[in-house]
C-alpha cells in the first residue's frame, strides 16, 4: 500500500526549526525529520519524548554487578584462597572485576537496545526519503493522509517558511 509523503528540504537549522514550529501551530503532524547532525529543538518541535534507553543501561548494569559479585564468591566456595591471612572473600579485591562487568553489561545492553529500537542492522539496500539528508539538507517528511492541509497548501507553506525544495514521494 503506497503512502504519499510531502518532503520539504531546508538548508539550515534555523528555518527548519521555524517551519517545524509553524507546522505544529497548524496541527500538521510531521512523520519524521531527517538530519545530517542532531539539531537541538527538533525533538520538542515534533513531540519526541526523551529516550528511555539509559534505564536499560542502569538495569542491566545493576544485574551485572550482582552477577559478578555472586560469581566471584561462587568460585571461592570450593577453593578459598587465603592470602596474607586475609579473609577469603575480602570485598575490595573483587571490586575491579565487578566494576568492569558493570560497565561491559551496561554498555552492551544499551547499544543492543538502541540498535533494536531504531531498527538498525546491516542490509545492502537502504530506503531513504532523500539522499541529501545525510549530506547537507534537513528533510521534513509529512504523511499527506494525516495532514489537515492539502498538498498544494503544504507546498506553499513549506516554501514560505524557507524550504529550498519541496517534492512528493510515494512509499
Amino acid at each position: 500500500m503506497a503512502k504519499k509523503y510531502k518532503i520539504g528540504l531546508f538548508d539550515n537549522e534555523k528555518s527548519l526549526l521555524e517551519a517545524l514550529k509553524s507546522l505544529k501551530d497548524k496541527n500538521v503532524k510531521v512523520h519524521d525529520v531527517f538530519l545530517p547532525y542532531p539539531v537541538h529543538g527538533v525533538d520538542d518541535a515534533i513531540g519526541l519524548k526523551p529516550s528511555r534507553l539509559p534505564i536499560i543501561a542502569f538495569a542491566v548494569g545493576f544485574c551485572g554487578v550482582c552477577f559478578a559479585l555472586f560469581f566471584q564468591r561462587f568460585t571461592f566456595i570450593d577453593w578459598p584462597n587465603i592470602i596474607g591471612g586475609k579473609p577469603a572473600f575480602a570485598l575490595p579485591a573483587f571490586i575491579p572485576v565487578t566494576f568492569e562487568i558493570m560497565v561491559l553489561s551496561g554498555a552492551l545492553s544499551m547499544v543492543a537496545a538502541f540498535l533494536y529500537r531504531s531498527k538498525l542492522f546491516p542490509t545492502p539496500e537502504v530506503f531513504v526519503f532523500d539522499e541529501r539528508a545525510t549530506n547537507d539538507r534537513f528533510v521534513v517528511a509529512i504523511d499527506l493522509e494525516k495532514s489537515p492541509m492539502n498538498s498544494g497548501e503544504l507546498d506553499g507553506h513549506l516554501r514560505e517558511k524557507g524550504a529550498v525544495e519541496v517534492n512528493e514521494k510515494e512509499v
Binding site: P36, Y37, N81, G106, F114
Partner: protein
Amino acid sequence: MEALSAIREPLVRNVKSLGEVTDAVSTPLNSKPKALWYGLFFPSVAALILGIVAVTYQIMTGIGTWGNNNPVSWAFAIVNFVFWIGIGHAGTFISAILLLFRQKWRNSINRAAETMTIFAVICAGIFPIIHLGRPWFALWFLPYFPNSRNLWVNFNSPLLWDVFAISTYFTVSLVFWYIGMIPDFATLRDSAKTRVKKIVYGLFSFRWTGSARSWSRHESVSLVLAGLAAPLVLSVHSIVSTDFATSVLPGWHTTIFPPYFVAGAIFSGFAMVMTLMIIMRKIFDFEKYITLYHFEQMAKIIILTGSLVGVAYSTEFFIAWYSSNIFEQYAFINRAFGPYAWSYWIMVTCNVISPQLFWFKKIRTSIPALFVITIFVNIGMWFERFVIVVTSLHRAHLPSSWGYYSPSWVEIAELIGSFGLFLTLFLLFIRVGPYIAIAEVKDLAGKALKK
C-alpha cells in the same frame, strides 16, 4: 541553546556549506592517495612482516628467544603492553571525557583518536598473549563453563583484573567507536559514486537514515557510553599499575602508581594523537578542520600531564627517602645512577624537560616543533615503563642474583612489528573509513553558518 562567543574564534573556519564537509572527507576516499601515504604504508607493512616473522619464530622455538631471564623475568613484553595501553587512553579521553565536559574542539580529532585507541589496544593485547609461550591456551585466562580444569581463575590477582579491564576496555571502545561511525557511514553511502561502494557502506551504515528519533537515541547512547567509558579508562590504567603496585618489590610497591600511570597514559596518548594528526593533516590537506587551535589545546594537556608525571617521579624519590627503608632507597638511587642510568635520564629528558617547552607559544604553535617533541614524549614514555620494570627487577635483595638485561633481536623485532601493525591498520582505515566524525564537524559548521 548554544552560545557563540564573540571573542573565541569558531572551531571550524571558512566552511561555506555543510556539503563541503562531506566532500572534504569523501573525496580522498574516492581518489588515489598521495605519495606520502605510500611512503608511510610500505615501511609499516615491512615492519609488520618483520614482527610476524619474529613472533612465529618465538612461538615455534620458545620464550628463551627473548632476553628475559632471572632476575629480569618481565621485560619487553610488559613494557610494550603498558606502552600501547597508555597510547590508547588518549583516544578515550578525547572521545568520552572531553564529550562529557562539552569540549567541542574534540569533534574534528575525535574519530582519528578513537581509531588509534582501538588499534593500540589490539597491539597491547598481543604481548601478554605471546608471552604465554603457548598462546593457544589464552582462553584459560577466562572463567568459563564447563569448568573442566576444576580450578577457577584467581579473582584476587591484579593480572586477572587486567584481563577483565583490557577486554572490557576494548569491547566498549569498539562499540562506542562504531556507534559514532554509523551516521558517517550513511553519509559515505549516500555520497558514494559506485554501486559496490554504495552497498558496502550501506552494510556498514546499518540502515541509518538520520531520522530525528534515531538521532535522539544516538545522542543518549553516546552520552551514557561516554559516562561509562570515562571511569573505565581511569580504571584500566589503575588496574594495569596494580600489576606492579601490589607486589612487594622495591620500586614497584608504591601507592602513587594508579594516578601516576593514568597521567602518564594520557600524556603519551596525546603525544601519539598529535603525531598522527600532523601526518593525517599532511596527507589530506586538512588545515581547515584540524587547526593550530587543536594542537595548542593538546599541547596544553601535554604540559599538564607531563608535569604530573614529573611530580610523580620526584614524589617516588621523596617517599623512598622518607620511608627510611634502605631497600627502597637503594632501588631509586640505583635507578638514577646505576647500570640503567642511561634509560632513566632518557626518560627524564623526554618526559619532564621536553614538554616544558610548550610553555612558549611559538613552540606549541609550530608544527615541526610539535612533531619532534611529541615523538620525544613517546620515546620517553616507552622508557618510563622500561625503567619501572627492568631497573626494579635487575637488583634483588640478594646480590648473588643481580643481573643485567638486554633485549634479543626477537624482542626488538616484535616491538617494531607492533608499530608496523598499528600504522598499517591506521593507514588502511583512513583510506576506507570515516576518519573524521562528519556529523560532529557539521554540528560545528552548522552553528558557525547560522551566525
